[in-house]
Amino acid sequence: MHRLLSRQLRKLGLDAEHAPDATSWSKLLPIIEQTYLDADLERYTLERSLAISSEEMQALYQRQKSSYEARLHTLFATIQDPIWLKDPEGIYLACNPMFARLFGVGEADIIGKSDYDFFDESIADDFHAKDLQVIEAQKSCIDEEWVTFADDGHRALLETVQTPMWDETGKLIGVLGIARDITERKQHEQQLDHIAHHDALTSLPNRVLLADRLHQAMTQAQRRGQRLAVAYLDLDGFKNINDSHGHDVGDQLLMIVGQRMKQALREGDTLARIGGDEFVAVLQDLTDIESSVPMLNRLLAAASQPIEVSNLVLQVSASLGITFYPQSVEMDADQLLRQADQAMYQAKLAGKNRYHLFDIQQDSNIRGHHESIGTIRRGLSGREFVLYYQPKVNMRTGAVIGAEALIRWQHPENGLLPSGEFLSVIEDHPLAVEIGEWVIDTALTQMSLWHQAGWEIPVSVNVGALQLQDARFVTNLRDMFVAHPNVKPSLLEIEVQETSALEDITRVSQVMAACREIGVSFALDDFGTGYSSLTYLKRLPVSRLKIDQSFVRNMLDDPDDLAILEGVLALATAFNRDVIAEGVETVESGVMLLQLGCDYAQGYVIARPMPSHEMIAWAASWHPDVAWADNPPVSPDNRPILFAEVEHRAWVAAIAAFLEGGREIPPPLDPHQCRFGLWLDSDGIAHHKTQPAFQAIITLHHQVHTLSKQLLALHAQGKNAEALMQLDELHKLRDALLAQLKLLLDEV
């Protein structure tokens, strides 16, 4: 029984088993009626409320749906990205106005059609294949492509996202495409990329891009079995321009020089600016080291061309350090750059406006010696260094005019080592200053000892750039003289290598002036080898020039060296400086020097460097070679005879070299075509034809040429050995001719 009915019965004291009496029945009926009424009312309320709420929900749904559709439509119509929807067969189901612009038609003209209605078959095939690919992949595919909008013809780079679309039952609707114009973004990216990888001033690649290119080039060189060169380039004199004309001018110069150097390179090469006035060039595809030389020269030339900036004509030059890849050992890009940097430094030292190849062999030697800085220091504290002295003499008078103190290492294991074996290791090391001071102090001690022994001789010591530019140099020197009171400062000469890194010439000049006040004089060592010889000569208060031994050694065989030597002597005279020739190894060299007016000399033909205790005895017993007596300086008018002599030596030497295989072609065989012959026919005949020796010389000259022809003929017949055996004969004829030339000089 229903719970309610049983309660209704219970409340009236009734039960289901017994029929009610009339009274109870009349009470029960209204109650039950009320139940039905309640139920009716309840049903009415429920049905009504459900109907109304259902209507409300439907209205709400319609409102939201139309509002959603309106929003979607607005979005679709106003969005600036092309949007389209194609069915799996490629028929357009929908597209927005932006997409229609691509085709240059209205949206209605596209829907229901396919790409085949708008494009060539092959292009439409491509599009369709792409759609199928997206469907196959079952996920979004992203593409980038350049397209032309048919409506206004503008081109744009579009990033297209194509997505397969399914309905709620999982059935494929087609492919939805959304394209975005990324032209500007790409341009920005490219700009940013350019900024990140290029130097803002010159637009050349920066260090970042250089690293990248260098890595690529190294990989490529490895793969192709080719070489690449890394050139580290630093402008000479740029700082001065910046300082005197301002950064704006300096910047413009950098831009112009950068462009010029870039143009000097080939297409595939890289020129990067890696800071201030430093550039790095990567030269690719080199078959060998030599093939880089023309480009290096072009770079140097490009850097050193005059530049017009703000009505100024400026000029700089470049110092280049080169290294190559691959090398015998594994190299990374940083190591290559360091090598090239180091070589660039050497180019600077060697006088700038030049290139210097990184010496791998020397580098590994230096590396090998690196730990020997400690050994050298121990050598110094262990008193293993000694000074040897090489005399300097006046060849004409036979006077001993001084001695150069030269450091030697009495190595406990390796024996006596010349300075070249260890000084280069510490060139840029503070130890060089310590050793330099030891040299001066030891030389002064020796001079003091000689003084006590009653002998006095000027002594020169070599001072390196590092030591000379040391702040305490002058003070220390002064202190050392205080410690050696009986040594006259005027007896000490300091030799400074011209090729030393005398970077701050003003400062060096001040140091020299301060030393001269003490009484110490200066000599410029290795004069003529550096690029800035004239600058040094003009700016530095040196009293003596030492002509580099390379010129002295070759002057008898190489007219060019003789010309340099003569020029240096003329310069010394003009600047009122003493001159001494070093490296005099033959009596003939001495004669030539005397004839040129250079009386002071130093070299093996006079004496090798010796221990200090041998010096006094040597000085007492030395006499100049007899050949040096009576060799007055030859007047400038007669100098051509000296050159003629050298020309002749050089010609004979060339014949000999040809026969010995050291030369591919012989010198001119016509006696009127060789340079000596040219002299004979011009200056010789004009000034000396009346002299008895002159005729003899002509005869001898012909004989020399005749014999030479015979020797060459033998050589041509394959009888080279026979020809070589007759070289002595040729040399005798040469010497006879030279003797006559000497007579010619004596007679004038």
């Binding site: 309640d38 409320s49 409300e56």
Partner: protein, 379 residues
């Protein structure tokens, strides 16, 4: 704790003799009665004669619950003599709904003490904003104090209610009894069982507990549309469609608001608690079985884990809206409650215009359309 429950009707008189031994200064007398007390005057005088020292609290109803039965025009009384618990009464004369917050705060201040365990509130059913009353109480009471109670009723007339103050039935009062001491056991449960109906609607205009428009349309118009021919029974028939208000804390679920009055002039509806402007509300509708299940669930959620034996009193406060909907079946929800409680339990209660009970988060709130139960015992 000693407990007796009594029922009085003019026809029968007291169902059992009153036990004077229960009277003491530590005795609480809870009385629910018809809005019109005139026919019940003799019974009331009996009580005044027997329970002189006891603290009286009670109110008029929309139906009195005694055991499993629902009755009208009776007095339903529970007399509780505490042995280890003390009780204290507080009252506030609240003539305007606007001062409901102060009323709550004042009552809390009157009752506040360190060992206050529970507060049982009985308020006038018409001149009050139950939401503000609860806020006022909460603003002053410590968090652990359990606050339950209800608003007085006036059948389905919504004209005048009374509250027992100084053993006299008076309008426009809010009263509360504070129960103190660690030996008091108290637990509560409250459930609705209504279903939401139709779309969510935005409260576009409301002021306090007066609602003007939903989604820009007059609220009264909407109610009339739903009620159809039953709109003539407003405001009572409005109880068929309470409003669900979404609470800020999700765990607190929906708060149900029931209609107290309608105003044809400005097409507004007055609810028993606040309707927040801008809030989202939804109409609700009854489902007999779910309402009855809800009542059972309220009983089941009462925690009696530390009740062992002795007397147990449960006060049921159910909403007049439920009675209107359940009609003849209303006693089924009372039976459902009883079936879920121990046999020792004695149940009295009434149909109200609003229920007070904590939410799941512990925050007390005003409810409508719920079965709200509070059980008391001594450990």
């Amino acid at each position: 704790m000693q407990l007796s429950t009594y029922q009085y009707s003019s026809a029968v008189g007291w169902n059992v003799p009153l036990n004077a031994e229960l009277d003491s200064e530590n005795t609480l007398l809870i009385i629910f009665g018809a809005a019109d007390l005139e026919p019940l005057k003799a019974g009331l005088d009996d009580l005044r004669g027997v329970f002189r020292c006891a603290l009286w609290i009670g109110c008029s109803t929309a139906g009195e619950i005694y055991g499993s039965t629902l009755n009208d025009n009776t007095l339903t009384v529970a007399v509780v003599r505490f042995s280890k618990t003390t009780a204290r009464l507080a009252a506030y004369q609240n003539t305007h709904a606007a001062s409901s917050f102060q009323a709550g705060a004042s009552l809390a201040n009157q009752l506040a003490a360190p060992d206050l365990k529970a507060v049982f509130v009985i308020s006038d059913g018409l001149s009050v904003n139950g939401s503000e009353l609860v806020k006022g109480l909460s603003s002053r009471l410590p968090k652990g104090v359990i606050v339950t109670g209800g608003l007085a009723g006036d059948g389905s007339r919504f004209q005048q209610t009374w509250v027992m103050v100084d053993k006299i039935a008076q309008s426009d009062y809010i009263t509360a009894v504070g129960l103190y001491g660690e030996y008091l056991g108290v637990s509560h449960g409250s459930q609705g069982g209504w279903d939401v109906l139709g779309p969510k609607r935005e409260v576009t205009r409301a002021q306090g507990n007066v609602l003007f428009t939903l989604d820009g349309q007059p609220a009264l118009e909407l109610y009339k549309k739903y009620l159809g021919e039953r709109a003539a029974g407003l405001p009572a028939t409005g109880l068929l469609f309470p409003l669900a208000i979404r609470n800020e804390l999700e765990e607190d679920g929906l708060t149900v608001r029931t209609i107290l009055a309608v105003n044809e002039e400005d097409q507004s509806i007055t609810f028993a608690g606040d309707i927040p402007q801008g809030g989202v509300v939804q109409l609700m509708r009854a489902n007999f079985d779910r309402l009855i299940d809800g009542a059972a669930d309220a009983a089941k959620s009462i925690s009696l884990s530390d009740f062992v034996e002795g007397s147990l009193l449960t006060v049921a406060i159910s909403c007049v809206g439920r009675r209107l909907v359940l009609s003849q079946r209303v006693e089924e929800e009372i039976e459902a409650v009883l079936e879920s409680l121990p046999h020792a339990n004695r149940l009295i209660g009434y149909y109200s215009y609003g229920e007070l009970s904590p939410l799941a988060s512990g925050r007390c709130d005003l409810h409508n359309q719920t079965m709200t139960l509070t059980s008391f015992w001594e450990k």
